[in-house]
Symmetry: C2
Subunit: 307 residues, 2 copies
């Protein structure tokens, strides 16, 4: 039996927050529907941040409401930067909440306007509040800049381990190690995954990777070989971080799914249907460059045939 | 001490043979000089094929002569498709000869107009002729379509092992496993490298990879972790095979060198100088799209600093 790898498509959130043009709410919903139709099991549809901070995502509450009204059979995730955002997301009825907590001081201050120590204290409040609610909504903390920071430069493995340990002590159950600016290399991915896991065990949930320096897919492979079975990715490799200068897009969903399925893992995702979802981007985001090699080449005739 | 990985830049050959525009001989020499100045230890500067077959490379004899006149301190390699080409290359004074031999029948007939069995017989003649010469010129056989073929589809590991075994029996000493059309995935790279090595041992020399489906760098990582220490690659990911429809460029030299050096391997290559060599392509090949993420992002501030 083939092993399952879980993909969370973050395009409608991470992919749009620094997009040159603004996608309409109707276009976003059509796109999200097409992603779901391709079999993507988890989709991050937006962010519960104040509209002035990221105007491109100001329609998140409407998107969440309209999609939940359709009773989706996939996991609807949103990002929330703080307790207030997490409460709003919970009250909106989302299935899962992602919360970014920076490992590096510089990124923490620029992106979240607080120190990593403040973030840990905040997560204690968030996890406490979540425990008091009737409905169980998993919170995934993204440990941002876990592999390097465009502001502070090197982030040591020790720093990342310490933040993750602090988060787990504060009640966090799932941590996504995030290469927010795309500086990681495969040996570092292996080292950090091992070091963090030896400290917090199965709370190491997955990897969020960017392809800034061309190593996104290779870093995913390194994580996969370390036992990681959950990845964030982005259709057409859209994305970036507004407070991480120079950061380019997320690891490309099409190429990542192709690698996983080629290697015999199961994702539940239909690649030709991913291409249909990608086609909607040409209309919805006309000014955005679309990355990814597989969509240009097409699926090779050898795909899923034994060698 | 850091382990050495040998890069052979195949841009001036593989990168130009299907280029939309034709690079002048002077531009090619300036480009090759800049690649050498970046510290690339081996450069494939052209192909000894009849000019009508690949007009873009018809100036190879002139390039070889002009470069050898400068006493280069790097390894000058050319491609040769047959005994005649290998003899011409030898007589031109090259340091190393690459010879492509297809694993699959379909690619063999389309690209070389003979069967793989014919090729093995031919290689016996080539290696015999080489042994009789005064000067030792290593011959690297590229086992083309070793991971799949755009004409025949699946190429089995058994087929690749059998061809490699036949080549070694015919006197071949170094085999480059080539993913000519870019269909390989990391698990397959591991499997094929292991299987071939268990049959022919250290005659497994290196990997020649394409990035058709976005897995080029991940495949290089898989090979690296199987002990491969020699890779072909191409500045800006130029390249393809005229007889492999749909094949896109080679694995990108800039991104590959960045991965290797980040992981602590030594290549002897200076990345900023690679970017200077890349800049020459804008003038020399104005119509060609240039791939590679690192050149767009720049070298991250964390590069070669301990994490």
């Amino acid at each position: 039996m083939s092993e399952y790898v879980s993909i969370c498509e973050v395009g409608p959130r991470d992919g749009l927050q620094i997009a040159k043009t603004r996608m309409t709410t109707d276009d976003k919903i059509a796109w999200i529907d097409s992603l779901a139709a391709a079999g993507i099991p988890e989709i991050e549809v937006g962010s519960f941040v104040p509209p002035r901070v990221i105007p491109q995502l100001s329609d998140t509450p409407e998107i969440v409401a309209r999609i939940l009204a359709k009773n989706p059979c996939w996991v609807l995730q949103v990002l929330a930067p703080n307790l207030r955002g997490a409460q709003n997301a919970y009250n909106a009825g989302v299935h899962k909440i992602a919360m970014p907590i920076s490992v590096s001081e510089g990124h923490s201050k620029a992106n979240l306007n607080r120190t990593p120590a403040d973030s840990i204290a905040m997560m204690r409040d968030v996890m406490g509040w979540m425990k008091e609610q009737d409905r169980h909504v998993p919170v995934i903390v993204g440990a941002s800049t876990a592999f390097g920071c465009s502001i502070d430069g090197v982030v040591t493995t020790r720093q990342t381990v310490a933040l993750c340990k602090g988060l787990v002590d504060a009640g966090v159950e799932h941590i996504m190690l995030a290469d927010t600016v795309g500086y990681a290399h495969p040996a570092q991915v292996r080292e950090v995954v091992r070091a963090v896991r030896s400290e917090i065990g199965p709370a190491v949930y997955g990897l969020h990777l960017h392809d800034t320096c061309g190593l996104g897919i290779a870093n995913a492979l390194a994580g996969l070989e370390e036992g990681i079975r959950a990845f964030d990715s982005c259709l057409a490799g859209l994305g970036g971080c507004p407070y991480a200068p120079g950061a380019s897009g997320n690891v490309v969903t099409e190429d990542l799914v192709f690698m996983l399925e080629s290697m015999g893992f199961t994702t539940g995702i239909d690649i030709p249907k991913l291409f249909e979802a990608r086609a909607l981007l040409h209309a919805g985001l006309p000014a955005e460059p679309l990355s990814g090699q597989l969509p240009k080449a097409g699926i090779p005739p050898t795909f899923r045939k034994a060698a």
